[in-house]
Symmetry: C2
Subunit: 451 residues, 2 copies
């Protein structure tokens, strides 16, 4: 049994929904279908969720909401009409959308969540009906019925561990279940949404709950590429990678899925498959806990700009007990979160995201390091990028680091920093941002274009 | 004007002292001479300082000390007789050594320091007299007269900043000053010694105080080698290196000088020259604050065993604010000091010296990391070595890291970790100890035997 989640761009109009139908029909183990709200039909379009946010804002500000309701209902009407679904369904959705503007505004912590959830909820009803009318034994299932009981944290719900028992029962049902993503209900029957990446979370929870054979996540790309297509022309796509590898790639520039959303699937050891609704015959990328050592040591090369390095040196720093901790305390006092701390003997750097600093914080860091830690020198270097070479099979392949540094050296790219953690899932290079593209091209050529 | 310090092996007997005389005579800028107590004359000999420790122990335990006194006096007598110095000098030293056993035991925080200081003190008197009788205008100068006023911390004195004014006056004296190393006097006129490496400290303080043109430190080696002579046959000796480079080399196995002792010289920007009393025509190794970029990028390769790595992974660790600090807090609670913290995205290692751990502490670390930080995996890897490739000119030589990793790769040596801090004075590799010698040989060949 598979849990299959479709993102907003896969559900934006009737033609997309027909693709979804074919995908579900083509594999009868695709039994639990999690759906997002309709996404953009083209670049300039508006997502239904964003339209619901506008509707909510006007409502709480006691402004006119008729236009908001109309636009949203029109979106669903188009789909219903194009798919030739019954008008009774449209009437139900109309009513639900309109009814949002009669919910109490005062002392209602869940108002925002109730508005937003209707995007997914209405879409799930349409899709279930569409499936039924096209020969599938399908039912719409409300998250409450599915067992998605969540904590009482508006817009930031977490699944209650006790929910998994009820979710497990879904596996005993024979028909196809269409479940709206993004929200659950609290013990007090309030609609409560997950955080960003919410539909991915619903799918991951359900997959873990029913112990699915896999969790298929349909998007609009053919899976994950070995390097950014904006830099490398027609990069290889990755057939299989581990959760750890995906995280390492995601860290430096790859953003296919919201990785926090995947924790339940990761913990439940459910393989995740990223596939393309618009190209379903492509095998996509399979993300697993462990994979066999049958691929090249490097699966991908990622890069991200916007890093800064605080470089500190102090003679005999190495002898000073607690130096590192005092340093981290200063950063914590300034509410700065850091990423890496490469250490020499009498020098140490803190690598962090540019957004963590402001000119005032920079000055404060320099002042405090000089005064409290009595450092010899401190300098802050901007415009840095991190390049990651990722691959579980890199372990025991010292050749990878050698090849990578040689490749960068041959292209005259200077390393500000290099760090290979003991996990050996990745090697991380810090370079100047102006050399990022050149570096990714050089490394891609070294590891992927060699044959 | 130079400050010259001679270590114990350079002063162990009359034949060594004759070499010292020649060295001082050969350069009339060698005006301030700091001396240690007589060291070992051969492998099985006892240092005078160690004999003084035994003497002290017997004395405070109210045991017989005649033999202790006799042995120590005999050491000085041999030197005095061999150098044909007057018996009055021996009588003075005899008295001083014997008088130690009439110092009060109770409520005397400085008793140990008083005993130990007599090794250097007596030797300085002998050497001053020897210089005088051999045509030099030399005087013995007690540390109090020299201005070495120190904090009241027995066996761990620190120079008082105000002392430097008086020390500066030494530069105005024309004759050669012979000053015992290792101790100063407190404001209350108590003898108080520095910590380990004490005579080096005296020399460094005096060099900084008189703004010496250089601080020459005479030992029994021809300076610092580019790699350990026990591993590399006849390694190149290094003509010039920076304090930072020396520190980096010292960190992983090179132990020529006690580096904390050198802080005053480092802060005073005094070049330090390490020379060999037994081979004074050899230029030795010059240690400076900055050096010109005229040498090869790598000055030395060092290695040290006895490291352990605690390897931690946790999915989404990278997102967890304060994870690193919590981890360091656990180590601090267990009184464990750490060396390096290479970070991946969802993994992190702590590299530390083996001596910091015990089986009980290891168990405690694993328990607390699992329970408090909820890590996915934690493992402790023993028998690791650190290899350092050191050189200031490495900066902007990305080729160095590439060459080094290639060299290790060619020799099938696997890297547990690699870290190049932003200072770029060194690249640090963590490898298995069983491969340490092979690694040093491979790297030495790569960087020094290429031409």
């Amino acid at each position: 049994m598979k849990v299959v989640k479709f993102g907003g761009s896969s559900l934006s109009d009737a033609s997309q929904l027909k693709k979804v139908l074919d995908i579900v029909k083509s594999d009868d183990t695709r039994q639990i279908i999690v759906v997002s709200a309709p996404g953009k039909r083209n670049k300039d379009d508006i997502k239904v969720t964003d339209a619901l946010i506008k509707y909510y804002r006007n409502y709480i500000n006691h402004q006119e909401t008729t236009e908001n309701q109309k636009w949203i209902i029109e979106r669903y009407k188009n789909i219903i009409d194009d798919l030739k679904l019954p008008q009774t369904l449209l009437e139900e959705i109309k009513l639900n959308i309109a009814n949002l503007s009669s919910l109490p505004i005062e002392q209602n912590d869940y108002l925002y969540d109730s508005f937003l959830s209707e995007g997914e909820n209405s879409n799930a009803k349409i899709i279930a009906e569409f499936f039924k009318r096209n020969g599938l034994d399908a039912s719409y299932v409300h998250p409450k019925e599915a067992g998605l009981i969540v904590s009482s944290e508006p817009s930031n719900a977490r699944i209650l561990p006790s929910s998994y028992d009820k979710i497990e029962n879904l596996a005993t049902r024979d028909e196809i279940l269409v479940i709206p993503g993004f929200f659950g209900v609290t013990k007090d029957d309030q609609i409560c949404t997950f955080s960003r990446g919410g539909s991915d979370i619903t799918g991951a929870i359900l997959a873990a709950g029913i112990k699915a054979e896999s969790y298929e996540n349909f998007t609009d790309v053919d899976g994950i590429f070995a390097a950014h297509p904006g830099i490398i022309k027609n990069p290889e796509s990755i057939s299989e990678l581990t959760y750890r590898e995906m995280r390492e790639l995601a860290y430096a520039g790859f953003s296919v899925l919201h990785d926090e959303a995947l924790i339940p699937a990761y913990r439940g050891k459910i393989p995740l498959v990223i596939k393309n609704t618009n190209n379903p015959s492509h095998p996509g990328t399979r993300i697993v806990l462990e994979r066999e050592n049958n691929q090249s040591p490097v699966v991908g090369i990622s890069g991200d700009k916007g890093f800064v390095s605080i470089n500190i040196s102090k003679y005999l720093m190495n002898r000073e007990i607690g130096f590192g901790k005092k340093l981290l305390q200063i950063l914590e006092d300034l509410n700065i979160s850091w990423e890496h701390m490469p250490t020499g003997i009498d020098d140490l750097s803190i690598v962090l995201r540019e957004r963590e600093l402001t000119p005032i914080k920079e000055q404060e860091i320099i002042t405090r390091l000089t005064r409290e830690l009595e450092v010899d020198t401190v300098s802050i270097e901007h415009h840095l990028s991190i390049i990651m070479i990722v691959g579980e099979n890199m372990k025991n392949h010292i050749g990878v680091t050698a090849k990578a540094t040689q490749s960068l050296s041959n292209h005259n790219i200077n390393l500000s920093m290099i760090s290979q953690g003991s996990s050996e899932v990745s090697v991380l290079f810090v370079i100047k941002t102006q050399e990022e593209k050149k570096a990714i091209k050089a490394l891609y050529q070294t590891f992927f274009n060699k044959h």
